[in-house]
Symmetry: C3
Subunit: 342 residues, 3 copies
């Protein structure tokens, strides 16, 4: 594929992009990381660390930020390039030109076990050894990979993909264009027990999990249903692997949770919140729209919209940075203080 064709296809408009002169329009055979690229590859560069690799990469073409110095460097090395405010987005679109994700053919494998009451749309793909309970509805183009188990009363929207060995529990509602990755468990009963004199008494979990359109749930993540009402993941929210969403959490739209994040019961997450890896959020806390929690933050109380928090317990990010920078000097401070006291 000609580089100019790629540039056009990825939608980098004239306002935001520049291409080297039309004489230099190499044939591109694939995409690669800038430090692993070979002749015929397209790569991208973002950040100082990777910008240095322009001098050594074997790529034939680069997607660059809007930086004349980097453009000149690429030109000097005889590489084609285009510039854009978001090179990573350009690269994402370039990958999609060269890569066709694996997708099973439509059809129902003869070893799948469907309750007679299951209803499904056109062009569904149901893999080997899938098991689907009573009253389940699958939309058009739904794809269930092998060994998926769906308990009774579940709804799955159009074009949603469930990867191998994931389990969808009773009454869960999944929207359109979702991806549930392998081993994820959605809608299992929440962890509800009440202490009594004779031990922990179970609170039945009669509620339901609702997953809105365009949600992505990572491998081996778990989303539990509540005692009453719903656990909800809003439209376009993306969860990485091994994330735990407890009973009754209300997660907004466009939220991102990195791997191993965990939320206790009844947490409320606003829209476009970002939770980095291994963040934990305590019971009933509310996180405002656009807030960010950095990796491993332990959040015990509400976080205001747009706030960035860090640490255990979580503090405003700047406060934490200053305090943690002093932390290693504690022994010296202690000695100084003792000396002063004398």
């Amino acid at each position: 594929m000609k580089f100019s064709t790629i540039a056009e296809a990825i939608g980098i408009t004239s306002a935001s992009s520049l291409t080297v002169n039309p004489d230099h329009d190499p044939e591109i055979w694939g995409v690669a990381a800038v430090d692993q690229a070979t002749d015929g590859s397209l790569s991208y560069v973002e950040g100082e660390k990777f910008a240095r690799l322009i001098q050594t990469t074997a790529a034939s073409a680069l997607i660059l930020p809007a930086d004349p110095t980097l453009q000149q460097q690429a030109s000097d090395r005889g590489m084609a390039w285009l510039s854009t405010a978001d090179p990573r987005l350009g690269f994402a679109r370039a990958i999609a030109l060269f890569y066709t994700p694996y997708r099973p053919q439509p059809g129902i494998h003869p070893t799948a076990v469907l309750d007679p009451s299951v209803r499904y749309g056109a062009e569904v793909s149901i893999g080997a050894h899938v098991v689907i309970g009573a009253g389940v509805t699958l939309g058009n183009g739904v794809c269930l990979h092998p060994n998926v188990v769906i308990y009774p009363g579940v709804q799955v929207g159009d074009r949603t993909i469930l990867h191998a060995n994931c389990v969808i529990h009773e009454r869960t509602q999944i929207g359109a264009d979702c991806a549930i990755h392998s081993g994820a468990v959605i809608g299992a009963e929440g962890f509800g027990f009440v202490p009594t004199a004779t031990g922990w008494e179970k609170m039945e979990q009669s509620g339901v999990v609702v997953i809105e359109d365009g949600v992505r749930i990572g491998s081996n993540s778990t989303v539990d249903r509540p005692a009453v009402g719903t656990t909800r993941l809003g439209r376009g929210t993306k969860l990485d692997n091994l994330v735990h969403v407890a009973h009754g959490c209300q997660v907004g739209e466009g939220v991102v949770m990195a791997a191993q994040v965990g939320m206790a019961g009844g947490v409320v997450i606003g829209n476009r919140v970002i939770l980095a890896g291994q963040v934990g959020i305590a019971n009933q806390a509310t996180i405002g729209d656009g807030a960010i929690a950095t990796a491993k933050a332990g959040i015990h109380s509400d976080v205001a919209p747009g706030e960035i928090v860090t640490g255990i317990p979580a503090l405003p990010h700047k406060v934490f940075l200053k305090a943690s920078a002093i932390y290693r000097r504690l022994p010296d401070m202690y000695k100084t203080l003792q000396r002063l006291q004398k």
Copy 2:
């Protein structure tokens, strides 16, 4: 169902409960959270935050704490109510009146693969594509959901439920009335490797996992077997999702572990211990009866019975609270100290 019938059924005795006058005994159609309740719903109220909702809820009846002010508020709004020392427990019992958990019919699905030596009791339910190895024994009323895999030599007690896609490894002993949730892996070989000059040499894990009666293990949790002896979870212990119990841990009775808790090898946990979310416990540590570790605590040494610990490394909770309150002032303290030194 009449409100008075519910009140009676949930066992709130006259000593601990009060009902409004018998003229006010509405028909209740279901249960709901107090902020989502509609006409005909029963809700409960616990804690200040939710008590305020008595003024606005659309519920027809409430379970209240023993607080005359709240009772008056509910009466003023024309709601039926009862009071109890533990409204949450009352609500748990009310849910059970309205909700019948999904339960497959007894029977063995024709696609299940059972070794001829498998023995099972009355009224077992074995789902589609279940696989059961040699010498396995299942008690009466055991329920195996689809795609469960049981390795050889496992025993499962009466009425225990194994949810979809969970895996029980060789020789594991599971008691009666347990629930193992989807994707959990019980009895896999512990992480035993010994460093040698040529790399990590495996220590075979010849031991066994023992799960006593009434234990609950959450989705995608893992409980490993040890090199020799047992890994044990005591009677009535409850584990949330994505919990890791390493080889050789000895967990007492009535213990609660929230999601993503992890224990290293040989940890000993007393009875009625509570471990909040994402707690980690190092090799061989002993946690005394009734101790509590708050969320994200990192425990490196023994914890006394009844102690509450917090932080990384874990400190007595009150010590941690005071210290962490000062933490954010570290930069100021540092500057003050420098000034004083001059």
Copy 3:
């Protein structure tokens, strides 16, 4: 089995071992922990805590460190013993003499679903309800336990074992002598999304996971494939349960990761690194050969070879120990400082 036979079989050479006089060579029936041993058992002792148990154990024979005092104690109690610099290694080898791990017979179960293009070597064992996609290659002696799902284009090396319900995604390359434990998900698409004005746009993950020879991956762990290039686990690396390795991580040889470790994208781990439980490593960080991160460390930047780091954010271990020892005195320091200011 005679104790002398065991001593010889476990390869404790004359240089490093001593046996009690040949008259005392008991018959050994099994292995056990020193505090659970019974007559006829072989146990081992390592560290002060367990050394005390020499006085009370019912074991018939012990593997001891090279410590004359302990040897004398064992002799005094009439136990056979041998001494070695590494008793735990000796015990590991002793276990292997008494324990034969469960291993299914070779053969392909009739319920397994193999694409006609699948190729496999001699003596493979393919369990019930296994599903294998197009173009998959399995080496000699490969063992797939029930309900394993393998997506198209995967290669699995000789003698590798995949436990029940694990999922291997498209194009993953797994070496020889690996063990992938139950529920692990290898090669699923990495968590790649690019923010745009209208939400998170997916970056297709066209890369591949490469697992070299002798790697062990624990139950319910996840190893994701990257957008381009590889995610790699080097030869002899061992992962415990519930570990997350993100897209594009490069993990060296002989690395050990304890349970619930999580790595963000593009992390580089050197050889023989040890990551204790619940460690987290941020995007693109590089960990040098032989470095150690203690439990729960949060690593945000590069770690030098051989360094030991602790804490969140991670500090050199000794620095952290000193600082954390002062942490609990912060309230006192604060008061002192206020008094001094006056």
